[in-house]
């Protein structure tokens, strides 16, 4: 606040900015600064990794049978003859203009690809995290309140299974039982083969687009396709969120103010939800935000098993094919998501925790 104080003394005739205003400006500036530095670091690291990887991007485009002249033409076209720093500066300039370049492999702008694949991941992750939160948080609270009871044991087993089962195995088993044998859910893919490209793309989220189009049949089909992979992801989030909720709640339930509340004669419901739970909201927000960010990175194995064209499999395929523009574009988007979710959770901190205001 020294800067604000100095400003007040040097310009006594002008309306001074309040401490609160300066605080907001400082916070915004520092947030922008930290986002910029983080992004620059992210871009630099991914760019350098991309360039030192033992993959020849030219060979990945032209193949090993191409003539030297074809190889050279692509080499220069990609700007690989220029110094690394120059290549990086060019890249930085393009990214600032939201231009991630052209995918080396499918000749489309990477930004278009990301706009196409990211909604698939966003949709899956959002349904997944909703399931994780809606079930995981109450389960964790109950497990803490009824510590060592049967419900706590169940919550522990659920979490343990969630932690320890390979997602690949669980996904296949789920697909096999609920799609293959019972036929309760749709198979791999976002919608059935007959509904592909039927609904006009508005948001890229098929559940939303089908509703916007008023096509309930496709909504149902899309829901039947998303429910299994989302439940799978939700289960993993649930396992983590419920354990963390339990741990946070236990800490609160042993605190003196809880005993005081009980002595005052408050109902157990009020003690748990109005006192203890209120105090773990901030920690929970961090846990949920991190889980959500993790899901938004794209779960590669889930996307592979369920043929879900999301950002995880997009980046992985690009990486394996040495399509570095796509890798860098995807990585920057994932990095941005982490940064934005961090800012968002910081913001919620300030709302829920008076000390952080």
């Amino acid at each position: 606040m020294a800067l604000a104080d100095n400003a007040d003394t040097r310009r006594p005739n002008r309306a001074p900015l309040s401490r609160a205003s300066w605080s907001v400006i400082k916070t915004v500036l520092s947030t922008i600064g930290s986002v910029a530095v983080t992004l620059l670091g992210l871009l630099l690291v991914t760019f350098v990794i991309g360039r030192v990887m033992p993959i020849d991007p030219v060979l990945s485009i032209v193949g090993e049978r191409a003539s030297q002249s074809t190889y050279d033409a692509v080499f220069y076209e990609l700007g690989l003859d220029k110094p690394l720093l120059v290549q990086f500066l060019y890249y930085l300039w393009d990214v600032l203009h939201l231009d991630f370049g052209i995918s080396l492999l499918n000749a489309r702008p990477v930004s278009e690809d990301i706009v196409r694949v990211f909604p698939a991941t966003l949709e899956l992750a959002t349904v997944g995290i909703l399931l994780g939160v809606v079930i995981g948080v109450p389960l964790g609270v109950l497990a803490a309140v009824r510590k060592d009871s049967w419900i706590d044991q169940i919550a522990r087993v659920v979490a343990l299974v969630g932690y320890s089962m390979p997602i690949f195995w669980l996904g296949l088993m789920g697909l096999l039982i609920f799609y293959g044998i019972l036929g309760w859910v749709g198979g791999p893919g976002r919608v059935g083969i007959f509904y592909v490209d039927v609904v006009p793309t508005v948001t890229g989220l098929i559940l939303v687009d089908s509703l916007l189009d008023g096509n309930i049949e496709i909504f149902k089909d899309a829901f039947s396709h998303i429910i299994l992979p989302a439940s799978l992801l939700g289960y993993y989030s649930l396992a983590y969120i419920s354990r963390m909720t339990r741990s946070f709640m236990l800490e609160q339930m042993n605190a003196e103010y809880i005993t005081t509340a009980r002595v005052k004669g408050l109902s157990e419901w009020d003690v748990v939800w109005k006192h203890a739970f209120r105090n773990i909201r901030v920690q929970l927000i961090t846990v949920i935000a991190l889980s959500y960010a993790g899901l938004l990175e794209g779960s590669v194995l889930t996307e592979i098993i369920f043929s879900w064209p999301g950002i995880g499999s997009y980046i992985t395929t690009a990486l394996l094919s040495a399509d570095m523009n796509a890798v860098l574009g995807g990585t920057v988007v994932v990095g941005l998501i982490f940064i934005l979710l961090n800012i968002f959770s910081d913001l919620l901190y300030k709302i829920f925790d008076p000390r952080a205001k």
Partner: protein
């Protein structure tokens, strides 16, 4: 997916199948073909640039060519497509094609000789990866407009010297021979790219199917072209869906949500084959698995040692175990189903014979390095060879690396032994003869890294001349004989231990008939499929 995942998925499905039979719960429409396939190798749809397997499948169904291969009779070789016939000049250098009348592109524009000339000229001028298939006939960006010309309804193609007509025509059946709609393509030209950027993601063909859409790593949709000059396909729509995981493909097939699963692993093939309503079809593909012995190595260059290595591979053992269903034994440089292919496979594991040969060469206590790409099947083959070599006192150190690392060393003649795969580039025997058995200048300065014989530092002697002679032989039967003779000599003297040829196994619903993946010579065709 690694072996563990394959095992897990196989076990998962196996477990369920023992509990209950999945059966088919759904069925795709009778006039629609749905295929699960890995299509993440598609990088461009421009026939002048496309050089990947899945891209070749799309191109084959979307673009007409001057000559084509009949998926119902691939052994018959090329036959007329957009050209109804051709005449060869007396000097054998000029082929004049007569174009089919009344054929239209998907845009409605007529298919003219001008379009055909433009398409071939364009491929040479753009000089993309597969351009060598055409430039080997002496076409250059500078001379191609004079060498390939259109006049009315005829197209004239003049090569720099006389070549076997079958050689030229076989090359024109490749993806790069696809004829594009000049008007449409040039209307989408940007910065003099001859429509390349546009054609990467769009199509301008005249084939039995038109492209409805390609979503990278998601799906390809085709619909039949009602004005196609030939018989209209039974399958009005074809959807190829990108499904990476073998177990997922199998579930889709068993549920009846797809008609064909093209990437099942051996465990899932075995499982699916036991299911009612599903059949498995095998087709030989072009990929060969081979060992190359560096002839700069003082020991490996001895004829007896080269011969001994051919007796030190457990062909049968590998074929019947970890390569089961995926590879068959093949010891010749031309894949089976190619013109001139030989089915002679004289070598088998014979430790005693190898010992005799090594003793003749005076070899004892040899230690060598083999380079292998990090691919499961190749590493397993290398380990098998390591085991059999150990039985005659040869220590094989296996170096596993990325494709770039291992190929770079192979190209630099830096590996004692290279274990790798080779797939033909176009459907003519020259594609493999011209790299395995051809090396006119074995010097380091020649740096002919495109030739496998050069990479192996091997001077094939008179085989180089024989390869040259075969590409100019106009009589088809004589040409076949020439390749068979070459391969007989090659088998005995070359430093290449050719071991296996790839098999592609597809799992199909029982009602799907006439599907062809194109064997070794071409790509998949859908227009003849019925249900």
């Amino acid at each position: 997916m690694n072996a563990l995942n394959r095992l897990l998925s196989g076990a998962a499905i196996g477990l369920a199948v023992t509990v209950t039979s999945l059966g088919a719960w759904a069925e795709t429409p009778a006039n629609m073909l749905v295929i699960a396939h890995r299509i993440d190798d598609v990088t461009t749809l421009d026939p002048a640039e496309s050089f990947e397997f899945a891209g070749g499948d799309i191109s084959r169904n979307v673009y007409g060519r001057l000559v084509t291969l009949d998926p119902m009779d691939l052994a018959a070789g090329y036959k007329p497509d957009l050209a109804t016939g051709w005449e060869v000049s007396e000097d054998g250098k000029t082929i004049t094609f007569t174009m089919r009348e009344g054929v239209t592109f998907h845009s409605g524009n007529p298919v003219r000789a001008e379009d055909a000339a433009f398409s071939l000229q364009r491929a040479v001028i753009l000089n993309k990866t597969p351009a060598f298939i055409l430039t080997q006939f002496g076409f250059t960006p500078e001379n191609v407009t004079e060498m390939i010309t259109a006049d009315g309804n005829t197209l004239t193609l003049t090569t720099d010297k006389k070549y076997a007509t079958s050689f030229v025509l076989n090359c024109l059946t490749a993806t790069i021979g696809g004829i594009v709609d000049k008007e449409t393509v040039m209307a989408n030209e940007v910065d003099g790219d001859m429509g390349n950027t546009w054609l990467k993601t769009n199509s301008a063909g005249s084939g039995p199917y038109k492209l409805d859409g390609w979503k990278p790593n998601e799906s390809v949709s085709l619909s039949s072209y009602p004005d196609y000059y030939g018989r209209e396909p039974s399958m009005k729509r074809v959807i190829v869906r990108h499904v990476i995981e073998s177990a997922s493909q199998r579930l889709l097939l068993e549920r009846g949500d797809i008609d064909i699963a093209r990437n099942l692993n051996p465990e899932d093939i075995a499982g699916a084959s036991a299911e009612e309503g599903i059949k498995i079809e095998d087709e030989l593909k072009g990929r060969l698995m081979y060992l190359a012995l560096n002839q700069n190595h003082p020991v490996l260059s001895k004829p007896e040692v080269r011969q001994a290595f051919k007796y030190l591979v457990d062909y049968e053992g590998m074929k019947d175990s970890f390569l089961k269903g995926q590879y068959t034994i093949h010891q010749n440089f031309l894949p089976a189903t190619y013109l001139g292919a030989s089915d002679e496979n004289p070598f088998s594991l014979n430790i005693e014979k190898a010992k005799e040969l090594l003793a003749e060469a005076g070899v004892e206590g040899l230690e060598i390095e083999a380079g292998v790409r990090e691919a499961q099947e190749r590493i397993e083959i290398a380990q098998s060879v390591q085991n059999t070599l150990a039985q005659v006192g040869i220590k094989l150190n296996i170096t596993v690396g990325t494709a770039k690392q291992i190929l770079a060393r192979y190209r630099a003649r830096d590996l004692d032994v290279y274990l790798g795969a080779w797939g033909p580039d176009y459907p003519d025997p020259q594609t493999n003869a011209g790299t395995f058995a051809y090396n006119p200048d074995n010097s380091v300065e020649a740096n002919a890294t495109g030739l496998l014989a050069w990479r192996t530092a091997w001077n094939p002697g008179d085989l180089t001349e024989k390869v040259d002679a075969a590409v100019t032989e106009t009589d088809r039967d004589t040409r076949i004989k020439m390749y068979q003779d070459m391969q007989a000599e090659f088998r005995e003297v070359s430093p290449f231990v050719i071991m296996f040829q790839q098999i592609e196994q597809s799992a199909l619903r029982e009602n799907v008939m006439n599907f062809s993946t194109g064997q070794a010579v071409t790509s998949a065709a859908y227009w003849q499929v019925t249900k």
